[in-house]
């Protein structure tokens, strides 16, 4: 309210006491009654529990205790500075970043080829790309365990071709986790980039081609700048999903490839340190939401700047 009052001109009516009557009026409206059950469900099932978790993360750690205490401390967060936990955080960020980078390159390539495909053949290919999203993540990860295991297909092929003497240990490594994560999240990147492709006027790259630009130049100079919002959205989604994924690192990562989520699992299920786990969850949530907010803010600003300056294309 003070912010709103400070921002308004002197003499202009400030809607100070409008909140309560507006709410009462809204409640009499049928739309409010329709919205009420779902809003209560999300508030009670998501919002309040998260707030409770954040409050708990500020309490001093007591093993197995879930009731809130009066004493506030940052001790749970300070533990993250311990090198062991800090390295887990760094590893999580690194694995997510590599996953996102690979997904971006492959996702743009697949989206580009889908965009080039004539519409009547496109439907089936879209299903091929998107259907894995609907297949259980456990089944998909198990598929990679079959492919990358010591007796797996990849090793069988390498041995038969005589490229290696003994099976390579591909499973239970950081590389295996990244391969699994790219597989699981690539469709999200394709979707985001494809949405940006759908808004491109095909006349633009055609014109560039007519003017003598090669396919790669056409792509780099005319298509790629227009894909930026889609890529930004895809990067956000893939990065935050990779940060918070549990199944793939738990099944495909080795003991030395622990990430934030497997550490949280350990704290909750093995050591019962719920306060520290709450702090770790807070870090996970904050990094996800900050990234999301930054991209949304950036996109919104760019869209606004573009809309207020007619004649210039969004970059």
């Amino acid at each position: 309210m003070t912010v709103a009052a400070a921002g308004s001109l002197p003499g202009e009516a400030v809607p100070v006491a409008k909140g309560r009557p507006a709410l009462a009026a809204a409640l009499r409206h049928p739309a409010a009654l329709l919205l009420l059950p779902a809003c209560v469900a999300v508030a009670a099932g998501l919002l309040l529990p998260i707030l409770y978790l954040l409050a708990l993360s500020l309490n001093p750690p007591v093993t197995g205790e879930v009731a809130l205490a009066g004493e506030l401390t940052l001790r749970n967060y300070a533990r993250l500075l311990d090198w062991f936990y800090f390295s887990v955080l760094l590893r999580t960020l690194w694995v997510s970043a590599v996953t996102t980078a690979i997904s971006t390159v492959l996702g743009v390539a697949v989206a580009h080829s889908l965009w080039r495909t004539p519409p009547h053949r496109r439907g089936l290919l879209v299903v091929v790309v998107l259907a894995p999203l609907l297949v259980s993540i456990v089944a998909r990860t198990f598929g990679w365990m079959l492919l990358l295991g010591d007796q797996g297909l990849v090793n069988a092929v390498l041995l038969r071709l005589g490229l290696v003497e003994a099976p390579l240990h591909l499973m239970f490594t950081q590389g295996a986790v990244i391969v699994g994560l790219v597989h699981v999240f690539l469709p999200f990147m394709v979707l985001s980039v494809l949405a940006a492709y759908d808004r491109i006027d095909p006349a633009i790259p055609e014109a560039a081609g007519t003017l003598g630009a090669g396919p790669f130049t056409v792509f780099r100079e005319t298509i790629l700048p227009l894909l930026n919002p889609g890529i930004a959205a895809g990067v956000t989604i893939v990065f935050s999903l990779a940060m918070s994924s549990y199944v793939t690192p738990a099944l495909m990562g080795g003991s030395g490839a622990g990430v934030l989520t497997t550490l949280i699992y350990q704290q909750l299920v093995v050591t019962y340190d719920w306060h520290f786990a709450a702090a770790l969850v807070a870090v996970l949530l904050a990094s996800t939401l900050l990234l999301l907010g930054a991209v949304l803010y950036h996109n919104a600003r760019r869209t606004r700047a573009w809309m207020t300056r007619p004649g210039s294309a969004p970059r």
């Binding site: 919205l35 390539a109 080829s113 259980s136 940060m243």
Partner: protein, 264 residues
């Protein structure tokens, strides 16, 4: 010449990516028909014995029952809530509308593992420790936004003149909803329902901390089975999951369009 090389390299990259996307799924299906006790490529003989073995596992059968009941329960609770909320959002001209929409779609941006843990801790503080109830609340909240989104998308394409015409002809609010709005938004409702079923059935991250030893979902049962043994029965049960979800995916693509559903 360079252009041809570029084009060839691009095609190879895209082809390799499609192979990359499909290889693990194909591999799972192939191994499930393996007749041997060990997993080897290519399988030396073929049989359905691992399907029988998977079916004989108590944990898989129990997990299948829990997952089915949970998915149906969560989808049946979430769908009416989502339809009502989407109708409310669609009609609302209130200033707070964007905030309410953000609240309803919030479960989309909160990682599943965060939903699960915060519910576990908050409910434990209230001394609620029944796994079925915890799972039902978690799954309902997690799938709710998908229903809201698909129904909102259907409502956005609705011609307001139809509703006005019905009103002019004297139809009341309920009659207009029942005979005009509902038939037109039915594809959106069904898409949200089916998508919710799939998401709930396949979920691991929300359930991970909400399930317990007595109430375990199928994906979690498969995960814990994988920790102790690595035989083709997991491939058999995974193949069944793939078949069911792909069947539902084709249904969704026909009825609503997968791309529209997933991209929102």
């Amino acid at each position: 010449m360079i252009r041809m090389l570029q084009r060839g390299a691009f095609r190879a990259l895209v082809g390799a990516t499609y192979l990359f996307l499909l290889a693990p799924l194909a591999c799972v299906v192939l191994v499930s028909f393996n007749g041997e006790a060990v997993q080897s490529f290519p399988p030396a003989s073929w049989s359905l014995r691992w399907y029988a073995h998977a079916w004989a596992q108590e944990s898989f059968r129990g997990g299948l029952l829990v997952s089915t009941l949970l998915a149906c329960g969560a989808a049946l609770i979430a769908t009416p809530l989502a339809v009502a909320a989407a109708l409310g959002l669609h009609r609302s001209r209130w200033r707070g509308r964007p905030a309410l929409e953000a609240l309803l779609l919030a479960p989309l941006v909160v990682p599943g593992i965060v939903i699960g843990i915060s519910l576990l801790i908050a409910l434990a503080a209230l001394d609620v420790r029944e796994a079925p109830l915890r799972l039902l609340i978690g799954h309902t909240v997690a799938i709710l936004p998908y229903g809201v989104r698909t129904v909102l998308a259907s409502l956005a394409r609705l011609d307001p003149a139809l509703d006005e015409a019905a009103e002019t002809l004297g139809a009341g609010g309920w009659a207009r909803f029942r005979h005009v709005t509902l038939p037109l938004i039915r594809p959106g409702i069904l898409a949200g329902l089916v998508f919710g079923l799939i998401l709930s059935f396949d979920d691991v991250s929300v359930s991970l901390f909400l399930a317990d030893a007595r109430t375990n979902t199928l994906p979690l049962a498969i995960m814990s089975y994988l920790e102790y043994s690595f035989d083709p029965s997991v491939a058999a049960i995974s193949s069944m999951l793939i078949a069911v979800t792909l069947g539902l995916a084709v249904l969704l693509e026909r009825g609503f369009g997968l791309k529209r559903l997933l991209a929102g």
